[in-house]
């Protein structure tokens, strides 16, 4: 059987359109603008946004890079849920022929669909996310056993590409702007379990402040929405465990 391509699918060329609402504006104000976009058999949300920018309104601002789910820069809110738009098929999210696309939640909006990622990355650093090597380049490289229980914990979070989907999904961030958020805390948990990281106590201090891991309500949106199937909620639970142990240990 001959495969159907997007150029000759049953939807293409039939005049079928999508009713697309796109956020226009900044953090200061704005609103959703409706566009009619031709429906295709194979079409992602990023394709829809690109079509609008190419053919309907060249002033539409959005961000993307790789288009294949590796860079994480095209994350947006689709029908109120955070998604990688390059990996979201229109058919999967279409409701009665309509879809709403907005900038990532919990972040300032620079313009239209481009969120300002500064607070997200600032918190990543605040949580102790910068690597502090335990050895110099002159020292021998210590072996790392991939099966080691601590290393397994560290490896669980290393596939994070900082797309901020978890940060946008987190209701605790929405209610508590100081909260460091799932990605930054998962990074802290990864480094805490990294044998080659040398600032373990600094991490425990960094995640124990007013915006630290103890503010997490374990609602689990981060784990549910992570497109890489990571589990920041369990990482945060690990941080709570370790900081609780250190609470008693440091008082001795």
């Amino acid at each position: 059987m001959k495969p159907v391509t997007s150029q000759e699918s049953e939807l293409d060329g039939q005049g079928v359109t999508l009713d697309v609402s796109v956020w226009r504006g900044t953090s200061e104000g704005g609103g959703y603008q409706r566009f009619e976009v031709p429906a295709l058999e194979n079409q992602t949300i990023l394709d829809v946004v690109s079509w609008i920018q190419h053919y309907a309104d060249a002033t539409l601002t959005y961000r993307f890079a790789c288009r294949v789910g590796m860079c994480g820069s095209c994350a947006m809110m689709v029908n109120g849920q955070p998604r990688w738009t390059c990996r979201t098929h229109v058919k999967k999210v279409l409701k009665a022929g309509a879809v709403q696309i907005g900038p990532l939640r919990n972040l300032p909006v620079i313009k239209d669909l481009a969120a300002d990622m500064d607070p997200f990355f600032d918190k990543w650093v605040t949580a102790g996310g910068a690597h502090a090597p335990s050895a110099t380049r002159d020292d021998p490289i210590p072996p790392v056993d991939p099966q080691d229980a601590i290393r397994v914990e560290a490896s669980a979070g290393i596939e994070c590409i900082n797309c901020s989907i978890c940060y946008a999904a987190c209701d605790t961030v929405a209610g508590n702007p100081d909260y460091l958020g799932p990605a930054a805390l998962q990074r802290a948990w990864t480094l805490l379990n990294d044998a080659k990281h040398d600032a373990h106590d600094q991490i425990l201090d960094a995640v124990s402040g007013v915006g630290g891991c103890h503010n997490c309500h374990s609602m689990g949106s981060c784990t549910v929405f992570c497109p890489n199937d990571l589990d920041p909620m369990s990482a945060i639970a690990g941080l709570k465990r370790e900081t609780a142990k250190s609470f008693f240990r440091r008082r001795k």
């Binding site: 605790t172 508590n176 007013v210 630290g212 609780a244």
Partner: protein, 114 residues
């Protein structure tokens, strides 16, 4: 709006509350099944050091636990921060402590001394 100290305080008070709550429920069921009147119950609790310590510690941990919990809700739902949030936390804790202490005295203080 929780740091490690407040988090630990809330968890430790929860640990203390759990057996006290079970004890409280057990006493309630026992009292109802036995058909004890209010006078009979007060006759056993008033002047009892055991019940004073039991419900006294209950009141103390509830006031602490609830004040921290309500602090989080107040911050996340209303955006309360800084001194206002600290004041709210202490105010809630002290109010609950005062109400609990009033009930504690009524139930466990020796009869005729209140």
């Amino acid at each position: 709006m929780l740091n490690l100290r407040l988090y630990m305080l809330q968890r430790i008070t929860a640990l203390i509350m759990a057996p006290l709550t079970l004890g409280h429920i057990a006493v309630m069921i026992y009292a109802v099944q036995g058909g004890l009147s209010a006078e009979e119950i007060l006759g056993r609790t008033q002047g009892s050091i055991f019940w004073f310590l039991f419900y006294g510690s209950f009141v103390l941990v509830v006031a602490t636990h609830a004040a921290i919990g309500l602090r989080v809700i107040a911050h996340e739902m209303t955006g309360l921060t800084g001194r206002a949030l600290t004041g709210f936390t202490w105010g809630t804790g002290l109010l609950l402590l005062a109400m609990g202490t009033q009930a504690l005295i009524a139930v466990t203080w020796p009869a005729g001394m209140t």
